[in-house]
Structure formats: structure tokens, C-alpha cells
């Protein structure tokens, strides 16, 4: 049986992601993190609640907006920041940047900005997990746009046909860059409804309600872990900032300001705070802890060496292992 949502822990996880993202956003205009960065501010509940109930051996995959998933799965903060700063000590040794985070020790396998690019890879990892009789599951996070790609449907089909231990997690934030759902996907159909077409259990929940995300994911994970095949989850959420970069983009006018304000009022962190979680004293302690951690992590990342240009050809082909 899955346990009830550990709200104080989830609060801490969400707050930590938020504070890290805010710190990146603050420093981004300095022009030293020279790679595209897709912030997940406002969307912290799904990473916290889904990754919060995964074992280290469970393997997580993500897309371009991956910081939250990486951090919630236990990805190393210094290595992530060093990657954004283009350092040799970055999690991808500076080769990939924000869009290619990785921490194999934490079970965060890969993230990539080509939409749906990692979905079939997660299915492949689930397939090989069954070959080696492992109990680990694959969890792949993607956005609403990725469900428009053929690779998503091909992956859903195959995962269902083979009853593979993979959890498909769609974070539906209603926009693909600046394009609204209308015209991209049929009106009146939820993304979760597509599970039925693949004979796959699916569920839909408020992605800004961390307890609801926890419950929904717990049920699905129990099923996936139990060998009953894949599940599809759709969580509705909202990106507060621009598609890519540290600023609001209200001036572009593609999202009504009432809509943006409405979603900001549905902040997943504030929601718990209103319920008295975790309490003022605990929150103060968390803030102090995270502030110290983040400051130290930035200092370590910024002090790290740049890659040597003579190593341009490194990692193109593996050496003899």
C-alpha cells in the first residue's frame, strides 16, 4: 500500500526547486549561463510528488523543462549548475547544457529538447528492465506538445502491447511555446483520454495540487510496479515565465493576463502553506537551509574549470571501456 502524501517533505522539495530556479533566473542576465534555460517555476508539484515516490533504481527521463525532475529525483545540484555555466565539472561536462541534464547515480538518465525524443528511450529502458527481471520502472516526463509527435504514440502502443513498466507523465501546461491547444489537439479530449486508445489505464489530475498528484501517481506506480503494464498520467499545470528564459512574457499577449494571474494564484507551494504546511518555523528553517545550499552550489559551480578546447573531440566515440 502506498503511504499518504508526506506533505512537509513535498513542500520542502517544491520549495527547493523554486528557490533554485529563482536563483538561476536572478543570475541568468549576467550572461554567464550561456545556454537556453527552460524554467519550471509554477510547475514544481509534479516533479516533487512523482519523483518523491521513486526509488533510486527507478529511471527518470525528461524533456527541455527538466530542472525540477532532475532535482526531485536527487540529481546533484552543483553538477547541474556547473552544466549551466558550461564547466568541465557539469553533469554533461559542459557538452549538453540545461537541455541535457543527467545524473546516473540518482537514476536521472537523460533529458533532451527534441519533443518526445526521450519517450521511446524510456520505453526501451523499461523493456530491458523486464529482460533482467528488475523491479525498477521507467518514468518519462513530457509536455502537451510531445503528445503530438508520432514517437509518443508509437511508444504508447508498444509499451501497452508488451505491458512494460513505464509511467508516462504528461505535464500539460496548455502551450507549446506560444501556441495554445486549440488547433493543435481536438477540443474536448483530454490527453489522458488517449490511454483508452492504447488499452492503458490513465488518469487526470490538478498538477498544482501536490497531494492529488501524489495520490494519482501512487496508484499508477503501484500498478506499473506490480507488472500490470504502463499508465498514462496527465497533470494540468502552468508555466509562469516565458517558454525559454528567466522573464515573464506577458507582453507577448498570447496568454490572457487573467489566465496567468489565475494560475499564479494556484501556486502549488502557497496552496500547502495556506493549509498550514509545513508551519512557519519549519519553513524558515528550510529557507535558511536552501539559501545556504544554493549559495554554496553556485560558488562551487562558478569556481569550476571550463572545458579545455583541445578536448573538442572527446566523447564523440567511446574509448575501450
Amino acid at each position: 500500500m502506498s503511504r499518504a502524501a508526506p506533505l512537509p517533505e513535498l513542500f520542502a522539495s517544491m520549495l527547493r526547486i523554486r528557490r533554485i530556479e529563482e536563483a538561476i533566473a536572478r543570475r541568468y542576465p549576467e550572461g554567464e549561463m550561456r545556454c537556453p534555460v527552460h524554467f519550471c517555476i509554477g510547475q514544481e508539484a509534479v516533479p516533487a510528488a512523482v519523483c518523491g515516490q521513486l526509488a533510486r533504481a527507478d529511471r527518470v527521463f525528461s524533456g527541455h523543462r527538466s530542472h525540477g525532475h532532475y532535482l526531485a529525483k536527487g540529481g546533484d545540484l552543483v553538477a547541474m549548475l556547473a552544466e549551466l555555466y558550461g564547466r568541465e565539472t557539469g553533469c554533461a561536462r559542459g557538452r549538453g547544457g540545461s537541455q541535457h541534464l543527467i545524473d546516473l547515480d540518482a537514476g536521472f538518465v537523460a533529458s533532451a529538447p527534441i519533443l518526445a525524443g526521450t519517450i521511446p528511450i524510456a520505453v526501451g529502458a523499461a523493456l530491458s528492465a523486464t529482460w533482467r527481471r528488475s523491479r525498477s520502472v521507467s518514468v518519462v516526463f513530457f509536455g502537451d506538445g510531445a503528445t503530438e509527435e508520432g514517437a509518443f504514440h508509437e511508444s504508447m502502443n508498444f509499451a501497452a502491447a508488451r505491458r512494460l513498466p513505464v509511467l508516462f507523465v504528461c505535464e500539460n501546461n496548455a502551450y507549446s511555446v506560444h501556441s495554445p491547444m486549440a488547433g493543435r489537439q481536438p477540443a474536448g479530449r483530454r490527453i489522458a483520454d488517449m490511454g483508452k486508445a492504447y488499452a492503458m489505464p490513465a488518469a487526470h489530475a490538478d498538477g498544482n495540487d501536490v497531494a492529488a498528484v501524489w495520490r494519482t501517481a501512487a496508484e499508477a506506480l503501484a500498478r506499473v510496479r506490480g507488472g500490470d503494464g504502463p499508465c498514462l498520467l496527465e497533470f494540468e499545470t502552468y508555466r509562469w515565465l516565458e517558454h525559454c528564459g528567466p522573464n515573464p512574457d506577458d507582453a507577448l499577449g498570447y496568454r490572457a493576463s487573467e489566465e496567468v494571474d489565475g494560475w499564479r494564484a494556484r501556486c502549488p507551494i502557497e496552496r500547502l502553506r495556506r493549509e498550514g504546511v509545513p508551519g512557519e518555523a519549519q519553513e524558515r528553517a528550510l529557507e535558511a537551509k536552501f539559501a545556504a545550499e544554493i549559495e554554496a552550489a553556485f560558488a562551487a559551480a562558478r569556481a569550476a574549470p571550463m572545458p579545455d578546447p583541445r578536448d573538442l573531440g572527446a566523447f564523440v566515440h567511446p574509448g575501450r571501456g
Binding site: 550561456r34 534555460v37 564547466r87 557538452r95 541535457h100 533532451a112 508520432g150 506560444h178 528564459g245 528567466p246
Partner: protein, 352 residues
């Protein structure tokens, strides 16, 4: 002189071609959106309607088929990919259907589609957002491939591509969008398959594509101070390749450096150099030299990206070797405008 930026020139070409021919339509994710594909499509949906300026789901493969299907009723779609890399998701439809459409049905069908592919280089766009894959498309029979390097040609080649009954791949380099130059107001074509002498010179030829034309002109400027006169040939098209302009230039100068934005290995530069070697061998005093990307994926970190992308200084060094100029005589490279060289000018900012 009617100064317009490269991006404005594309916008004007699209607007005029759509006004001229109601069968021309635009499609791609973000095409009618608020940032308008770097400003190249801004306002077109309002002017021509949502039916002709279509937003699209992230379904590159199927979108290509949608465009091909629409050609059956005479439409002439312009398909836009914000990054060259996104067109990779459409390769089956592009290579197996579109390119061969006319041929495999014995000339009964045509695929007059324009594909605008944008090279995203800069500010850590990295392995999946800054590839320059023109050689892939040039390698497949059936496509025409062009790479404008000036605002005038950005409009002219686009108009020629739209009017052409073959599928045409236009590779646009993002670092050119802010470039300003003379753009006639009339609706004109830059013919596909015709190169341009961007700068005449008698000591060596630099045949360049896309943004490397800018780097070649920079190199030519700097070498002029040493009395070395470089002829810069802007190839403009890869397919058809303007063999005569290339070979006539080589015949005049006796030396060839090829500068392409893609990989040297198996690249467009290889085709250009090989063509010159085959067709103008007697005029070449030394083996041609290719400048382009090393055979590595594009790195994100600026410390690596600065070493990865070739610049004017690389062209200058190649020319110095060919022309027996002591490299010590080469002018020192201009310092970058900031700490790094991962942006074309200070106005170019990240992140997107």
C-alpha cells in the same frame, strides 16, 4: 539603397509572394505566433488569414505529409522549422516521399513545397539545436537547396523557391537575421543555382555558403591590408550547384578555399572542392582547402563552442598557407565583443 534586415527581407518576400499567388500558404509551429519566427512571419496571419498562415502541432513528420497532400489541389506550402534539427523528425516524409514525388510517379505529380530550416547556432544551442545539415538534403535527388547570405538573396531566393515546382530547402542562418542590406521593393527572384561574386579578387577564391560568406568577406577585408586580393564567391545554392561561376573564379585565381557552415567530412564543402578539382584541376596550383566544422557534435559550453565554429581567422590561415604568406604577417584577430565568440554581435542575447 533600400536597407532592410535579412529577417525583414524574408517577411517581405513571403508577404509579396502570398499576395501574388493565393495558393501560397505557410505552416509550422509558431508561424502565426507572437514572435513570428524571428519576425519573418509577424502579422501575416492577420493579413492573409489563419487558413493560409497555419499554426501546427509538434508533428513534423505528419506536417510534411499534410503539406504534400495539399499540393494535390495546387497549393504551394512554405513549411517552417524553427531549427534545422526539427526537420530531422520529418526526414521520412521529406526524403522518401517529397523528394521523389515527381520522379516515382513518372512526372504526374509535383511537390512545390518550400522548407525553411533555421540554423540555431549561438548561446549554447548545443547538440540538438544548432546543426547545419544542408548536405543531407543536397545529397537526396529531387531537392533543390539554397542558403542565402544577404538580405537581397534572402528575399530573392525565397521567391524563386516558392515559384519553383521542385521542393526547395532553404537553410537560413540565425546569425544573418540582423544583417542589413539593400533589398529592392519589387517582387524579384534570385535564381536558384546561380552563385554571386560577393567580392572580386585575383589571388585566391573563397567559395562560401551562408554565414561563412560573412566570415570570408571579413577575411578578404583583412588580407587586403597585406595586398592580398581574395575573391569571395557566395555559392547561394548547393543544388543546383553553379559549377561555372566556381570554376571560372578558380581559373582566374588558381587557389580555392571552401568555407561551409556544416561538417567538413562528407559535407557541402567536400562537394564544392571535389567539383573544382574535377573541373578546374589544371588551374589549381595547390589542393583546395576546406573550412567547416570538425566531425564532432556541436558543444554547448562557450569554451568549446568558440573552438568549434570556424571564423575569418581560420580562412585567413588557410589562405596564408596556400599563398605562401608567413602566418606571422596575418593581422591579429579582432577581440570578441564580450568574453566569448558565441554571439555575432552584442545585440544577440540568449536564451532562445
Amino acid at each position: 539603397m533600400r536597407a532592410r534586415t535579412f529577417a525583414q527581407a524574408i517577411h517581405e518576400g513571403l508577404a509579396q509572394a502570398m499576395a501574388e499567388d493565393p495558393r501560397v500558404c505557410l505552416m509550422g509551429p509558431g508561424v502565426p505566433g507572437p514572435t513570428g519566427i524571428f519576425g519573418t512571419t509577424t502579422g501575416l496571419a492577420e493579413r492573409f488569414g489563419a487558413e493560409r498562415v497555419m499554426d501546427m502541432p509538434s508533428s513534423e513528420q505528419a506536417m510534411t505529409g499534410f503539406a504534400l497532400g495539399a499540393t494535390l489541389d495546387g497549393y504551394r506550402p512554405v513549411v517552417v522549422h524553427m531549427r534545422v534539427d526539427f526537420a530531422v523528425l520529418a526526414m521520412d516524409q521529406m526524403v522518401n516521399q517529397v523528394a521523389k514525388w515527381h520522379f516515382m510517379y513518372g512526372g504526374r505529380l509535383r511537390a512545390p513545397i518550400v522548407f525553411r530550416l533555421i540554423v540555431g547556432r549561438g548561446w549554447g544551442q548545443g547538440p540538438q539545436h544548432s546543426q547545419s545539415l544542408q548536405a543531407w538534403f543536397a545529397h537526396v535527388p529531387g531537392f533543390k537547396v539554397a542558403m542565402p547570405a544577404s538580405p537581397r538573396d534572402a528575399k530573392g531566393l525565397l521567391v524563386a523557391a516558392i515559384r519553383d515546382d521542385s521542393p526547395v530547402v532553404l537553410v537560413e542562418h540565425r546569425w544573418l537575421y540582423g544583417l542589413s542590406g539593400d533589398v529592392p521593393e519589387t517582387l524579384y527572384e534570385t535564381p536558384l543555382g546561380v552563385a554571386r561574386i560577393a567580392r572580386p579578387g585575383r589571388h585566391a577564391t573563397v567559395a562560401a555558403t551562408s554565414y561563412m560568406v560573412i566570415e570570408a568577406l571579413r577575411a578578404a577585408d583583412r588580407l587586403a591590408a597585406l595586398g592580398i586580393e581574395i575573391e569571395v564567391v557566395d555559392m547561394r545554392s548547393l543544388v543546383p550547384l553553379d559549377v561555372s561561376t566556381l570554376c571560372e573564379s578558380v581559373a582566374r585565381t588558381g587557389h580555392l578555399v571552401v568555407a561551409d557552415t556544416g561538417s567538413v567530412a562528407f559535407g557541402a564543402g567536400a562537394e564544392i572542392a571535389a567539383t573544382a578539382a574535377e573541373r578546374a584541376f589544371a588551374h589549381l596550383r595547390r589542393a583546395p582547402v576546406r573550412i567547416g566544422l570538425p566531425h564532432y557534435p556541436s558543444p554547448t559550453a562557450p569554451a568549446l563552442a568558440d573552438a568549434y565554429f570556424p571564423r575569418a581567422v581560420d580562412i585567413e590561415r588557410a589562405l596564408a598557407t596556400l599563398l605562401d604568406v608567413d602566418p606571422a604577417r596575418l593581422p591579429a584577430e579582432d577581440p570578441p565583443h564580450g568574453r566569448w565568440r558565441d554571439t555575432p554581435d552584442p545585440s544577440f542575447r540568449g536564451p532562445y
